[in-house]
Amino acid sequence: MVRLNRVLLKDAGNVIDKTLSEILVCPLSKQPLRFCEKTKSLVSDTIGVSFPIKDGIPCLVPKDGKILEEEGDASKA
């Protein structure tokens, strides 16, 4: 039962918790990050880069960031 709860919590943990959302910013621009529901990633609109969240753990190393397409639609997604 305890183990099952953990698994459920981990699945729900694909969204980062409140503490992290309050504190984390873009590692390069230091501007706030936006959570993108579609791609389940954190987006820095200032520099047009998205950072992945793996198993509920945000990966905010500059090398892990992916440059978003310059189209307006993609950046708003």
């Binding site: 953990r6 980062i16 918790d17 503490t19 992290l20 309050e22 504190i23 984390l24 910013v25 873009c26 590692p27 390069l28 230091k30 706030p32 793996k54 198993d55 753990i57 945000p58 990966c59 905010l60 190393v61 500059p62 090398k63 892990d64």
Partner: protein, 321 residues
């Protein structure tokens, strides 16, 4: 080895802006490997350093509700916290995803879940933490692998709230001096030259300069030396590997000649082995303490603002001296 890279302020400044000393990608791979090697195992040296670092929290009267733990031995820091510092929330960061996942899994398995803990992957050189958002920053044996140590510390200071505390432990220049000597002699004997096998490390006098230049208030630096004993020279190498402390220099020689390795072990044994047959290795640890500036901190007065002269002091108290 490339000694002297941290030898002076000016030299250091040039290095930090122009030269990348460490291969950060390789260091991430090292830490991924260390996450697996140190699984379910507690390292007594790493634990001792973390415990000594956290002991400083008991000297502070205030509490630190939000604490941020940088990479290094963050598992040990979490395990040994034991309510010190009044921490309610703990945020853990490492460059290695495997290390972060390992720490989170260890927490899931443990009975102690009193502190709310969050995890993310980040780089000390590009700190993704908002300005003035945490009360305490702890780094145990991690910052000596950054290329831009002053930049990392400046970012740490900015992340702290006013009157926030920065606690760090880094390896000092005397670390692994026996291995350094043995490697140098073996290389000269077998290969006729020297290639860097050990990283440049900060000297004690540099630590205070780093704190001051980053803008910390009330800087404090002290040094400790730990001697760890091994049965064989290879045990030392395995320990370094399990800690994620293996060579990550960009200029490193990627090939290690087997004869050179054997010669290193032989020289190490003949020069440094103790009477009981064990192999000692020295780890010099530099502890740094700094605070984000606050109005309650004492400040030096402006030059020339004195209202009493030393001459008057001499007249008043001269008879007693």
């Amino acid at each position: 080895s490339t000694e002297g890279a941290y030898g002076g302020d000016g030299e250091f400044q040039q290095n930090s802006s122009k030269v990348k000393i460490f291969d950060r990608d390789l260091k991430r791979i090292h830490r991924d490997r260390a996450a697996w090697l140190s699984r379910q195992k507690n390292d007594s040296f790493v634990d001792a350093v973390a415990d000594n670092l956290l002991d400083r929290l008991e000297d502070c009267k205030k509490s630190f509700p939000t604490a941020f733990c940088l990479g290094g031995s963050l598992g040990a820091v979490k395990r040994l916290l034991r309510g010190r510092g009044g921490i309610e929330k703990l945020i853990m960061m490492d460059t290695s995803y495997d290390m972060i996942k390992s720490c989170r899994d260890a927490q899931d398995d443990s009975l102690d879940n009193s502190i709310e803990t969050s995890y993310f992957v980040g780089d000390e050189e590009f700190l993704p933490v908002k300005e003035s958002s945490v009360d305490l920053i702890i780094s145990s044996l991690g910052l000596h692998w950054t290329n831009d140590l002053p930049g990392s510390m400046i970012q740490c200071k900015l992340a702290l709230k006013p009157d926030g505390l920065f606690l760090a432990a880094i390896l000092g220049g005397e670390t692994l001096k026996e291995l350094r000597i043995a490697c140098t002699l073996a290389h000269m004997e077998r290969e006729g030259g020297i290639s860097p096998r050990l990283s440049p490390l900060a000297q004690v006098r540099d630590a205070g300069n780093l704190l001051t230049r980053a803008g910390f208030s009330l800087p404090g630096v002290d040094v400790d030396e730990y001697v760890v004993k091994y049965k064989r020279a290879m045990d030392l190498i395995e320990h370094l590997r399990a800690m994620g402390e293996t060579n990550a220099l960009l200029e490193r020689n990627k090939i290690l000649n087997r004869e050179t390795a054997v010669a290193t072990a032989a020289i190490y044994d003949s020069m440094f082995a103790t009477e009981d047959g064990t192999i000692p290795a020295t780890f010099q640890v530099i502890y740094m303490t700094g605070w984000r500036e606050h109005s309650s901190h004492p400040q030096a007065k402006r030059r020339g603002s004195a209202t009493v002269s030393f001459t008057d002091l001499q007249k008043q108290f001269g008879g007693q001296s």
